[in-house]
């Protein structure tokens, strides 16, 4: 019997543990075949290996991809000049800069710039860690920028820690159709949506700075997708200020409807807690809670926000430039600005912050927005649902960023 018949199961058994032979594959920027060498390193890497990017800039014509579990991609930093910069300004193909499709991957200390589509996407990549990364469209907000900066989707256990994302024409940090998620200590600036949790379960979004976006932090659920019914999301200890960049999303996308000047926006989710955040200078509202008001044909979809809790946040000035249809007229009627919390009147929410709430009194999602009858609302009554437990990630993920 040929030897390889024994070798295959043996190799498989070895791969279950981190192999003792884990090695570092170092690649350098510059040279005629630097790009091919980088992609080849990502292909020939074996579980446990580190692909180490030297300092310098790769001018990439094609998207990169990694499909080997347990690999670390580690650069020399995120800064121009001293860091490891993956520059996609001349990109000719692929929907993203870097695509990860394997589990237990650790991405740290490099920058991805000016991709034509998304920045870094991971799909079906469980236990992925994004750490100390910069994903940026360096010319700032433009409709021609890529959609998502950091984009994990269909994954279980996601950690996004200490990243900087700027210029995404959809969401800077977007987590979609995933479970057990932490987004922390990160900066999202000048994106349409700073941070977005969509069609996902169990997420903690905390200690981030979301500023100069169109909307700071979004918690959404959309119909006709494989995973929906988003719930159990905590948004806390964030600084969500001055989100005043005019919406530059390509029309048709759901975020194109986000009013400029939105702090936190919850749409069609349940059990979302928003607490201990600092929010100010968000011209439409510091917190907005709405239903999904588009026509849809998905009988399983739940379009209302439910069991939303807003408490213990620090509110600065807000509502001074409400950028939704009829907003300016309502503000004028209320003496120049609307209260910092805006609810469309559908679903249910509890607001314990000592600030005003404006309801548009649209009791269901089929009532057209033109039928709004705005009035102050008191949402402080009623018993909030039991507090959500915090998210715990596998210890091996936390160990990577210690």
């Amino acid at each position: 019997m040929p030897i390889h018949r024994f070798a295959a199961p043996l190799a498989a058994a070895l791969l279950l543990a981190v192999p003792a032979t884990a090695k570092t594959i170092r690649v350098e920027a510059g040279g005629v075949d630097a790009n091919e060498k980088l992609q080849e390193a990502l292909i020939v890497a074996e579980p446990g290996d580190i692909v180490e990017l030297g300092a310098g800039t790769w001018a990439l014509a094609d998207g990169l991809s990694l499909d080997v579990a347990g690999v670390t991609i580690r650069g020399a930093g995120v800064e121009d000049g001293s860091g490891s910069i993956l520059d996609f300004a001349g990109q000719q193909g692929a929907g993203e800069g870097l695509l990860v499709t394997s589990d237990d991957v650790f991405l740290t200390n490099f920058a991805v710039l000016n991709t034509k589509g998304d920045g870094i996407k991971s799909k079906g990549a469980d236990r992925i860690v994004y750490h100390k990364l910069r994903v940026e469209w360096t010319a700032g907000p433009k409709e021609t920028n890529g959609a998502y900066g950091i984009y994990p989707v269909e994954s279980r256990d996601v950690l996004i820690d200490s990243v900087f994302v700027r210029g995404a024409s959809d969401a800077g940090i977007y987590v979609g159709q995933s479970k057990n998620i932490v987004v922390r200590d990160s900066i999202a600036k000048e994106n349409v949506a700073g941070i977005e949790i969509e069609n996902s379960y169990d997420a903690d979004v905390h200690d981030n700075l979301a500023t100069k976006n169109t909307g700071g932090i979004l918690v959404f659920d959309l119909p006709s997708l494989p995973m929906q019914g988003g719930h159990n999301v905590r948004v806390f200890d964030n600084i969500i200020v001055e989100n005043d960049t005019p919406n530059f999303a390509p029309k048709g996308n759901i975020v194109a409807s986000v009013p400029t000047g939105t702090g936190v926006l919850v749409m069609a989710n349940r059990n979302v807690e928003i607490f201990d955040n600092v929010m100010e200078k968000n011209g439409t509202a510091n917190v907005m809670i709405v239903g999904y008001r588009y026509e849809h044909k998905d009988p399983k979809y739940q379009p209302l926000p439910r069991a939303i809790v807003v408490r213990d946040n620090e509110h600065g000035r807000a509502g001074f430039a409400p950028a939704f249809p009829g907003g300016a007229e309502i503000a004028a009627a209320m003496g120049g600005s609307i209260p910092p919390v805006l609810w469309d009147g559908a679903g249910d929410a509890i607001v314990l912050d000592k600030v005003g709430v404006l309801s548009l009194n649209l009791p269901d999602v089929t009532t057209p927005q033109s039928a709004a009858k705005p009035s102050p609302a008191d949402l402080s009554k009623g018993t909030p649902p039991a507090a959500l437990p915090g998210i715990t990630l596998p210890a091996a993920m936390e160990a990577k960023v210690q």
Binding site: I43, Q92, A94, G252, I254
Partner: protein, 342 residues
């Protein structure tokens, strides 16, 4: 070439009985090993390395193929001696371990018609593996390109237009992006509904390679042959061959909720009808729906097919030119949909 090939195979097979026989040259021990050879010749899949004389079991074509920058594709399969493929209930073909699917890409007016690249899908004991090889300048062998490469080519499309593109040979991972089902590599093209065996085969020849040859029933029309099906059916065949390898619930685009298999409900939201963009970014082109019935100009499915900008274009890999004729078929399909079903 095919006649010689088939006749040779037939002669050998008739001599040997009911099952496949080892054909001269194919290095089954390399195919079966864990090796990833630097040179394509290591597999012995071509007669003296000549890409025009393949040494597999049989060539095949597809009713409606995936568009790849107007490249001509030559496909054949090598099934190991003594083994047969089986058609499964869903029409996919289960090839035995040791099978190689070979696909060569070229243009009649590039490199004297020799292929630019040859891709192998090898079924090994641990599963399918995808390997891209680029033919050397002298055309005598091809070299492994795990990391992919852009190859400048200039060719004429059927409408007479000259295209100069940097043709993308996919890297190993990009092979898998399309050939992926639940994260495992699978063949795309050879499904009973789309699979065409050599027309000059003897009736019994199918049985030499297939356990259940009667299950090989083609269902899909030929996308550019109006006699083979209605516009809608040909559009569906085109979407199946060009999109559904990613756009299915276990494929690379599963998260989009856009599912374009021949078997999907062509009137459903998940087929794109009245479906709003998901994670489309610039791909929405400012439009509200993937398919707006009756209105191809407001259907971003068309917008994405007619773009070559990597932030917009679909499919995401494997296309640097617009397939005008394919897009025209899909435009007609959408234009002929009643607007009321919106």
């Amino acid at each position: 070439v095919r006649r010689v090939f088939a006749a040779l195979a037939a002669a050998l097979l008739c001599a040997s009985g009911a099952s496949g026989v080892p054909l001269p040259g194919v290095h089954q021990e390399v195919i079966d090993s864990d090796a990833i050879p630097q040179k394509l010749s290591a597999f012995g899949l071509f007669h003296f390395g000549n890409p025009k004389v393949p040494l597999g079991s049989f060539p095949y074509t597809l009713r409606t193929p995936l568009f790849s920058d107007y490249a001509d594709k030559h496909r054949f399969v090598s099934i190991p001696a003594g083994k047969k493929a089986r058609v499964l209930a869903d029409g996919t073909i289960d090839f035995p371990v040791g099978t190689v699917l070979v696909k060569s890409f070229g243009w009649s007016d590039v490199a004297d018609g020799r292929p630019v690249e040859t891709r192998l899908l090898i079924r090994r004991a641990a599963g399918w593996i995808a390997l891209p090889y680029i033919w050397d300048a002298d055309g005598r062998d091809a070299t492994l390109a795990l990391g992919g490469r852009r190859v400048p080519v200039t060719f004429r499309s059927p409408d007479g237009e000259t295209h100069s593109i940097r043709y993308a040979v996919p890297n190993k991972n990009q092979c898998k992006e399309c050939h992926s089902l639940n994260g495992e590599i699978v063949p795309i093209g050879p499904k009973a509904r789309n699979f065409v065996l050599p027309s000059d085969w003897l009736p019994e020849q199918r049985g030499w390679y297939f356990e259940n040859p009667d299950a090989l029933k083609t269902a899909m029309p030929i996308w550019d042959d109006a006699k083979s099906g209605s516009v809608a059916d040909r559009a569906r065949a085109y979407l199946d061959a060009n999109c559904a390898h990613c756009h299915n619930p276990a494929g690379s685009a599963s998260n989009s909720g856009l599912f374009l298999r021949w078997t999907d409900d062509p009137a459903g939201v998940n087929y794109g009808i009245g479906k709003r963009p998901t994670a489309a970014g610039r791909g929405s082109g400012g439009m509200d729906f993937a398919v707006a019935p009756g209105d191809p100009g407001r259907s971003f499915l068309i917008y994405r097919l007619e773009s070559t900008d990597p932030g917009i274009a679909m499919p995401e890999v494997g296309r640097s030119t617009v397939h005008r004729e394919g897009a025209a078929l899909l435009r007609q399909w959408i234009a002929e949909m009643p607007k009321a079903s919106h």
